[in-house]
Amino acid sequence: MSYEAWILLTASLVGASCGLIGSFLVLRKMAMLSDAISHSVLLGIVGAYFISQSLSGVYMLIGAGIVGLLTTLFVQLLSDKGVQSDAAIGVVFTFLFAIGVILLSLYGGNVHLDVEHALMGEIAFIPWDTLEINGVDIGPKSVWMLGFVLVINVLLTILFYKEFKISAFDPEMALALGIPVTFFHYLQMTMLSLTTVASFDSVGAILVVAMLIVPAATAYLLTDRLIHMLWMSIAIGVLSAFIGYYSASLFNVSISGAMATATGILFALAFIFSPLHGLLGKWLAQKNVRMEVKKG
């Protein structure tokens, strides 16, 4: 497979996983929590490195999972103690992220970990960092990790589709039906942490947020059915990846930055032109109403 193809595959896998979990975050009004977790997992990655002394993806995933849950827990704790929720999110993730950056600056210097990389990813290096089993090169590590995370996300979403849906739509009713809403919340936060960390290597912390929120928000403007929103987010995420990659190659700029910008452009298009919920659609609907009134 060509160099370019690997990069596109990696980015598409990021777009797919993020689109899937991002849809539920947008619907549950937890976009900022996803912003928070994607920042604080940096600490998880750094911590995992220090403890395991290795850059193995497995440890990073575990570290991320733990820190992701911790972030959710701390935010919840502070909220319960009366700190307003937006402040709670702001305090917790900036603190954890700051510690991560400090540790990274102090001790991460010699290793493959560096701050800019963590922020922006270095997707250009992905195709060369490959996995070897018994001396056989089976492809870039990132692709494996992302593929694994995507499979988990898809599996969990299929298995628990009903439960995810009703917990997002009507949590009180869900509780009354005996559905463990809190469990599913933490489950989704774990899926989020895993997705973030798997994407770190390729697109970096900050830009994962774009992939999580923007394609899902775009899909939200394009459809009224949850199932469509899910596959549309994935498609838009993948599309942004392609547009981003080719634009970045053209202008010689950051690939992940370009992908984030691409998600924004697609969102803007939907915002204006969506027949269902875009400005144009609403304007047309109003015009129709006026015409009907005139006729009748």
């Binding site: 009366g82 307003q84 702001g90 900036t94 929120i213 403007l221 992908m259 998600t263 924004g264 919920h277």
Partner: protein, 435 residues
């Protein structure tokens, strides 16, 4: 350590420190308003969105100039706030998603511009990287003067318009009602918040600047209930964190300033959370313990009275019976018995308790007040004054209302039957006997 103190004598460090203190001050002050307006995370969006503005300013101006960077950052900061507003207003996207969209897309675009600049220019790009995590050491004297001037202006404006900002934050409709040009002051406040964010970017960096608005303010909240004190305290905490972070950062090579400042500020927050006298955890815990003890004592007396009231002959009850009536946790049971007998309110013998005369008086007061409060709650809407449990007192009601309350008490059959001798003798509580 010695090197650390030597730093203080370096005039450059002094200048940088001065600037950072002032900017910490203004972040804390304006962050308080952002916090109270529930716009803390919009501050995060503004900070991230500033990156493309800074880059564009660089591209237009050709080299580093804090002045033009600030202008660029402010413009893109404004545009981002406006966009968030428009997205929420004109579509079904909710505010949290709108903030996330603007924040990440603008920042992504900023990174694009940043890499473009890095690839195009040869060395003049210095200074832009610092905007991501902040680097106080890269501040030069002219930068500091600019930052300090803006900070001072912001602080002056806050002092000038304090009353107005306070009321539009707390109750905008009321403010409008008394003729205050709310939209006007709202815009000024937003401009000031944007400026506070933007001057901090070189020191704290884009990613963490949001915390400068949030953390000092929320820490201050735990020390006071008054807005004026909170703002001043937030400013001081911001200044202190800024100072500490800057000092450590300038003495250690390669450590960005932003994270250090944030860790300092958050540490103060954690301390405030635990030890703060106003809403701190320690205080709450101590209060909670005291309350538990008092409640347990009251529960016991109430239960003992109820038991006495229900069985008209027996005056002696087993401890277990009383504990059954209103549950008291095992750990406090010993305490309750001891305390009440020490105070002479009950007499204990072989696990059987009875109310003393003094005890009956105390219990009667408790029961009467308790049942009156309950009755009051059942018919709350019919009374003028709205009172909470702590404040409830018969004396706060009008004569007529007192009558009504006692009537209702009787109607529900809740009038305490066992009246202590002292009352019977002195006819102190006239109302009950009039019924």
């Amino acid at each position: 350590m010695k090197e650390f103190f030597l730093q203080f004598q370096d005039p450059n460090t002094q200048w940088v420190l001065f600037g950072t203190l002032l900017l910490g001050l203004s972040s804390g002050v304006l962050g308080s308003f952002a916090l109270l307006r529930k716009q803390s995370l919009i501050g995060d969006a503004m900070a991230h969105a500033a990156l493309p503005g800074v880059c564009i300013a660089f591209l237009l101006y050709g080299s580093k100039s804090l002045f033009w960077f600030i202008i660029g950052a402010a413009i893109s900061g404004f545009i981002s706030t406006w966009l968030i507003h428009i997205i929420v207003k004109k579509s079904r996207i909710k505010e949290d998603s709108a903030i996330g969209i603007v924040l990440s897309v603008f920042f992504g675009f900023g990174i694009v511009l940043l890499t473009y600049i890095q690839n195009e220019s040869t060395g003049n790009k210095s200074g832009l990287d610092d905007f991501i995590f902040g680097q106080a050491a890269s501040l030069v004297k002219s930068d500091v003067i600019l930052i300090s001037t803006i900070s001072v202006v912001l602080l002056l404006l806050t002092t000038l318009f304090y009353k107005e900002f306070k009321i539009i934050t707390f109750d905008p409709s009321f403010a409008k009602g008394i003729g205050l040009p709310v939209k006007w002051f709202d815009s000024i406040l937003i401009i000031m918040i944007v400026l506070a964010v933007v001057i901090g970017l070189q020191t704290v960096g884009v990613i963490l600047m949001a915390a400068m608005l949030i953390t000092p303010a929320i820490a201050a909240r735990y020390w006071t209930d008054r807005l004026s004190f909170m703002i001043i305290l937030a400013g001081l905490i911001g200044a202190f964190s800024g100072g500490v972070g800057t000092l450590i950062s300038t003495t250690t090579k390669g450590l960005p300033t932003g994270p250090l400042i944030i860790v300092a500020a958050t540490s103060i927050f954690i301390l405030s959370l635990i030890f703060g006298p106003k809403k701190g955890l320690l205080q709450a815990f101590i209060k909670h313990l005291k309350l538990r003890k008092k409640t347990a004592l009251n529960q016991f007396l109430l239960s003992l009275y109820d038991l006495n009231e229900q069985s008209l002959h027996s005056k002696l009850f087993s401890e277990i019976e009383v504990f059954e009536k209103r549950k008291i946790s095992k750990s406090l049971q010993q305490y309750v018995i001891k305390e009440l007998s020490n105070k002479g309110l009950i007499s204990v013998e072989d696990g059987q308790v009875s109310l003393t005369d003094k005890g009956l008086e105390a219990a009667y007061e408790l029961v009467l007040n308790h049942r009156l409060y309950e009755t009051y709650l059942m018919h709350e809407l019919e009374f003028q004054e709205v009172m909470s449990h702590k404040e409830f007192s018969i004396s706060l009601l009008t004569e007529k209302e007192k009558q009504k309350l006692y009537q209702l008490l009787e109607l529900h059959g809740r009038k305490p039957v066992l009246v202590p001798n002292s009352l019977r003798a002195h006819k102190k509580k006239v109302f009950i006997h009039e019924l």
